[in-house]
Subunit: 339 residues, 2 copies
DNA sequence: AAAATCAGCCAAAGCGCTTTGGAAGTCTCC
DNA sequence: GGAGACTTCCAAAGCGCTTTGGCTGATTTT
């Protein structure tokens, strides 16, 4: 059933029916009710392609998915998606994933903007001077960044967690426990979140006149294996750290494995704090030694991103606005006084 | 730039330009070349909404994403997505994720079909008599199932791995090593893959006249915690198994933790085989005792699904066809002769 | 009582593409 | 050399919606 048939059935013009359905004021309340009721009863729904062609709006939000043989999508992504979807479904907001060559995402961004395939875009895992952010800013499509950039001279909307504050607090706590040799096993240092975390640790150490030596910092993709390697290197060095801050729960699996292999007890000889994005399938309290964590639900972030994007599309949210979430520090058994 | 302007520029009719671009035969090779060249040079691309309205084709494939506060998206999903995207990007195939209430996906499926929002749909984690499969079959939209159903009297396209064969072989291997009390820690038994795996184990045991006792089988969502719980229960029973088959690497993290807590050595007192979907961030060879696994890359499956879907849309693949992939058995240190 | 206003509705013109049903022009063949 | 058969291109009619501009009759203002 299309608008023509439907309006003929109601003995109204297409104009009136369309306006009634879209909430325009030029139609009487009675007529509107009649139209809305009939639409529901007969299951009439405007054809999205046609509406899209006429208005340019699609009701979809876009995400460019970097792919490639050697590109791994972060497992955090599904959790984020869970939250996003959970909110979006109530608004019939669909998400379009446009796969792109990880080394040339610009082409894809240009395509989806030129084609008007989506009304807004979200970006994740930004780098300080992220090219995608700069690009979207010039292309003029609404977008929302999960994370932050640094050093751009324009404003944009973002949602980020206070990575710096979280790791500063975590480092402070370790120092209160007497730790002086603190190491950081970080994610990919090209990404802003990792930079912020390192900055937080440095700031805390600086308060006590300490510095984070280069050989006590490592950064790599957040896999179990990389966590293991970094921990081994640290623990086998001439002056091993007494505490490790770790950017991910998955990496800390590897840290624990390394410690066990080397007979380093946690928290006896090594204190460990990890960042927890809250996975349903791997919980810090279930580590052999329950893990102290900085915690922030990435799922909640996904829901909030969807909420703000929806508000943006409804013109309820205007312009650029940053939003910074505090991070919990949850103390469990993996930390103790310095040996 | 739209078709009207573009065709005026070329001094050709819109018809001819459209046909040239879409590969119709009624246009001379020379004209076609001229049109295609000019399109590339001037960056002309047909507006997808308009094309969509005219043809009904969208060039997108759909996936209904079950969401809800208590619904967790499987972390395997991103790996699948990696593969799917890696293939799809070369074809400019986009993926539309339509979030739905996990308890009422039908509404969403009906919507995306009625709205013609996507050209084809794929389904994952099917149950034996999956309602989604039955629904899509009657709705008549092309679809591809990753996994299989059981007991339907119609054919459809699917891609599945030989879960039964994999677990049969794994169980056989354990029995060759002398194991008689073998337990299975499975995923959600409502899903076909889990049923097939259990069936495989039972078949192998039956060959030796053994049966899989009810209390040696457990099934639950594949989390570390559920793996731990199941393993504890098994290992603390009056007649603990000497070998465990486990449906997921994540669960087997929990199994290893339970074994360690109880002082049960692997493979000394317990042999362990897990199924590995191949994650970049957690590898069986990096377990404290390297894990013997049944292995099948879920990423490769994603790529193949995209490939077949693309073929379907191009009318190269016709009708229903099932595809069953063999599963590797990779032997590592976690198995040994029965104690 | 005439003029001005306004609420409520409508016809028709897009949006940018594909596709139908020709119409020229070019070849072929008897 | 003219009829038929191709080849190559075109004008115009959709696809199903939104939106502009205008029209009618009722209400308010002067």
């Amino acid at each position: 059933m299309n608008l023509k048939q439907f309006s003929r059935m109601l003995e109204l013009s297409q104009t009136t029916v369309s306006r009634a359905l879209n909430g325009y004021p030029e139609v009487s309340e009675e007529t509107r009710r009649r139209v809305v009721d009939a639409a529901k009863r007969h299951g009439y729904r405007p054809n999205p392609s046609a509406r899209q062609l006429a208005t340019g709006k699609t009701g979809m939000i876009g995400y460019v998915l970097p792919t490639g043989a050697s590109v791994d999508i972060d497992p955090h992504f599904v959790e984020f998606l869970s939250g996003l979807g959970d909110y979006a479904r109530a608004h019939e907001l669909d998400l379009v994933l446009s796969p792109a060559d990880a080394d040339d995402q610009e082409t894809t961004y240009r395509r989806i903007v030129a084609n008007r395939q989506v009304d807004a875009v979200y970006i994740s895992s930004p780098q300080p001077r992220d090219r995608r952010v700069a690009l979207l800013n010039t292309l003029g499509i609404p977008f929302l960044v999960h994370g932050r950039t640094e050093g751009f001279d324009f404003d944009y909307s973002f949602l980020d967690i206070d990575n710096e504050g979280a790791f500063r607090e975590a480092a402070r706590l370790l120092m209160q426990l007497g730790h002086r040799r603190i190491a950081l096993i970080n994610g990919d240092i090209r990404e802003t979140f990792a930079i912020h975390r390192e900055r937080g640790v440095r700031a805390a150490l600086a308060e006590k006149g300490l510095v984070l030596a280069d050989d006590t910092v490592s950064s790599a993709a957040m896999t179990e294996e990389n966590g293991y390697r970094a921990a081994r290197r640290l623990l086998e060095s001439s002056a091993p750290p007494t505490a490790i801050l770790c950017s991910s729960l998955i990496m800390s699996l590897g840290v624990v494995r390394a410690a066990r292999e080397l007979g380093v007890s946690i928290p006896g000889r090594l204190s460990l704090i990890a960042h927890d994005d809250v996975f349903p399938w791997l919980k810090p309290e279930n580590f052999s030694v329950p893990l102290t964590t900085t915690r922030s639900s990435i799922r909640a972030a996904g829901a909030r991103v969807a909420e703000r994007l929806a508000a943006r599309l409804a013109n309820l949210e205007d312009g650029a606005r940053g939003e910074l979430w505090p991070v919990d520090l949850v103390v469990r058994g993996s930390i103790a006084g310095a040996p």
